[in-house]
Symmetry: C2
């Protein structure tokens, strides 16, 4: 910053980005973080604090004068860390893991370093161009058809979350439809997904102004492992058409949140293609596995789909936020999302020789998001990234084996990837409420120890324990220890 007028207090010479000060303090922070990773196993994985714990410790106002980094780091240790649920702990088996890596951390540091705002090409050519290249790289790793690539006729973008990926494609589909039907028919647009679809789908539909009464949640059942039936979809679509409504958008899952159920793309695409429905595949978690040939079949039929999203922050070591979205017809997205204010106009954008990613997303500003993926792919190579997926699946299989070999437990739905859905088996002599209560108690006890964090779900009326393997630091020994803890809980409960 520059000098100050003499009438303002200037207690110290303030330089917010002195390179030598930056160097010194950033080195300090690196050591703090490396130490945290080294000690991470010693912290309770699920935070044990009570609501409001932090407000009692912190002042009501920001300080008027500066405080030294040492004081702040002490507070991180004593005030923040106790309130963390440690997602990177090797004992974290809740939700889906959020995977990370040194390479991605370095990529994020670089992204922060440049702090470029890549709303259009000119504002940071490298940011736009590297993202285009990296999205093509990942598309190639997934063996997507060229129609999803910039090398072909499509393209991809890094969104923050699946919610945005769905919102953006839904709006493209909506406005394409309304161009023909007229705006007043908005209330007649209908969207479809299975009842296993992430809640974010219905939320995106609400955001986009789809009538809440036109959001179809098609039931699934245990006997088909909770996958969406093309027959049921067809019935729903035909009923809507008969009622004078307009089928608009179908969200298909490759790996649902509750149980990693996989919808079969081909038969669902038959229905969607026939009725001109925009078909989106949400492969947030399991899509990453499809970089391994042995899992790629889950994407069979992808060439008949309009858009696909998957989140490397879940399983490709990238840290948050990173959701990759590919579309076959970027022009439909751009048509509805583009803006052209005078203050952003420039020769390159006008010539239409470049991609302006602001027209592919909700916001205007955007960070240099591709650096993380670029560093991951280059630092580890495809071989190690595939192996990391395989190792997680192998550990999940190992856990599945433990469960199967204990007669008190059962696997509820077949394991496909790194998630094991299991429970204490129901006893014929007692009701299902009691079984659910026992499983709830078991989960509560396991989590209360701070030694393992798992979560639950309910599907088809069954209360299920979810054991999601794949936190980056998890090794075989953590899975073994977790199983021993679960058994210990069961021993006490079923005594």
């Amino acid at each position: 910053m520059g000098r100050l007028d003499s009438n303002f207090p200037d207690p110290c010479h303030f330089n917010p980005l002195d390179p030598e000060e930056f160097r010194k303090q950033a080195h300090e922070m690196v050591d703090f973080i490396a130490d945290y990773y080294q000690k991470i196993e010693t912290y309770p994985v699920l935070s044990q604090v009570k609501p409001g714990y932090l407000r009692t410790d912190l002042p009501e106002n920001a300080p008027y004068l500066p405080e030294p980094l040492e004081t702040i780091l002490k507070d991180v240790q004593n005030q923040i860390i106790p309130g963390m649920t440690h997602w990177l702990s090797p004992n974290f088996f809740a939700f889906f893991p959020s995977t990370v890596s040194t390479a991605a951390f370095l990529g994020e540091m670089l992204c922060t370093c440049f702090n470029s705002v890549g709303f259009n090409w000119l504002a940071s050519p490298a940011s736009t161009e590297l993202e285009m290249i990296v999205m093509d790289w990942l598309a190639n790793m997934l063996k997507l058809p060229k129609s999803f690539m910039f090398q072909g006729t499509g393209g991809g973008i890094i969104q923050n979350t699946t919610s945005e990926a769905i919102l953006v494609t839904l709006i493209a589909a909506r406005d394409q439809a309304l161009d023909v039907l007229g705006f007043d028919n908005m209330r007649k647009l209908v969207v479809y997904a299975s009842d296993q679809t992430h809640s974010t789908f219905a939320k995106a539909c609400k955001l986009a102004g789809i009538s809440p009464r036109n959001i179809r949640s098609i039931p699934t059942t245990l006997d088909t492992a909770f996958s969406l039936s093309a027959l049921h979809l067809r019935k729903a679509v035909e009923d809507d058409v008969a009622a004078g409504l307009f089928p608009l958008y179908l969200c298909v899952n490759v790996g649902t949140t509750s149980t990693t159920a996989v919808d079969s793309i081909g038969p669902l695409a038959d229905v969607a293609n026939e009725h001109g429905i925009w078909l989106h595949v949400d492969a947030a978690y399991a899509g990453s596995a499809c970089i391994c040939p042995e899992f790629r079949h889950h994407l069979d039929g992808i060439e008949r789909v309009d858009s696909l999203s998957l989140s490397p922050h879940k399983w490709l070591l990238s840290f948050l936020d990173c959701c990759c979205l590919w579309v076959q017809k970027p022009s439909l997205v751009v048509k509805t999302l583009s803006t052209n204010p005078e203050y952003l106009r420039n020769e390159q954008s006008e010539s239409e020789s470049v991609v302006d990613f602001k027209d592919w997303q909700v916001g205007t500003g955007r960070r240099f998001k591709s650096l993380r993926l670029w560093l991951i792919f280059r630092s580890y190579g495809i071989v190690n990234i595939q192996n990391h997926i395989r190792s997680d699946v192998r550990m999940a299989k190992m856990f599945e084996g433990f469960v199967s070999s204990d007669p008190r437990f059962e696997i509820v739905v077949p394991r496909e990837f790194g998630l094991v859905c299991f429970r204490l088996k129901p006893d014929e002599n007692i009701g299902s409420d009691y079984t659910e209560m026992l499983n709830r108690k078991l989960l509560e006890w396991v989590n209360s120890t701070g030694r393992v964090y798992m979560t639950h779900t309910i599907v088809g009326g069954i209360y299920i324990l979810r054991f999601a393997v794949g936190a980056t630091l998890t090794e075989d020994r953590h899975v073994v220890a977790a199983w021993n803890l679960i058994k210990e809980g069961a021993d006490a409960l079923l005594f």
Copy 2:
């Protein structure tokens, strides 16, 4: 990760987050970044590459085997940096600056380090609670009424961008209205803003399903410095009511993108309050200045507003993305955005004793975003943050003085903050087209030197050069050098 089955190749022992490897490589990256900041002035501020430059340099596929960090860093230097428009260069005077600081960098490192996914309280109590506290701190710094604070009856959240802040509040307003009017009246909802409002407003309205024909862009003129007239607003609203439409949402600007025009909140709130219109204040850039008492009057009337957003990534040293949104009635936002899937349910959320930020935003996942602001406020103290604003404004005043003292130039709109809007003065004897052409040529030449980057706008038909002071590394000497360069260009043009 765990072990691998023996049938897969494992060319090296792969550990994506070995703490000692992390420590070593992150230290290397810190030095790379500190060196970049030290050398930043030597790079052309506006990248001089041509579209497609990177694809010719990079392979078509990700590598199968790992590459060493040294190779990658060499490529960052030789392939990425030439394609960067250096937003942190002290010679960056384009758009608005995107300000940064060592403290925020450290906060971002910590946020990345934890990689917690704070969709609800339990998933990371510290993440939610620190955000609540920090948002109250900033609200206090801005002297917002308690009704915007968690300490009072409101609250705030960090969104990624202004677009999301507008979208979220617009949806809350929309669904509140439709609850009464019924969904079929969506097409009758009308939104209002001045023609100076950022293009993201119209985009958010389109996303939310507001009929494009119901987005009112109310004209402004130079004689009122492009601020929105309450009289014109009232006329537009009354016309719509008379036509059987429903006025829904008004977006008011404190500091427009083109010229930092300020709409006067009080008189506009009269109209909005009278007609039950949701009133949002977009203070993306200039809002930050209101932490200084001498600028606070721009928020006068804020107690009559429903929501306010401002972006610390613009002027509070925070790096991207960071847009703070406060609302007086969080329950309206939560009502429309909340989801409650089984797999996220937990005792604390059910008891409604906690805030679950997923219900305040578009996405589900979210990072530990408040760490950056917390580190900024604590490391620098309010005094230094105020001084940093003042120093930028003083430098802009200095530049304004240079312009005013040169008879070939003129200030087009009064300077309020750190942006100077100026141009080569029109000559009575020649047409306005020629003036515009001269100014375009001047801008083009200045930017082509790589020594300064400025941008332009057109308001009220006038082509204006924008000189935005405030890049974190900018000092008086850079402003002086930029002015000398501009004069040099003018000398050549007007010879």
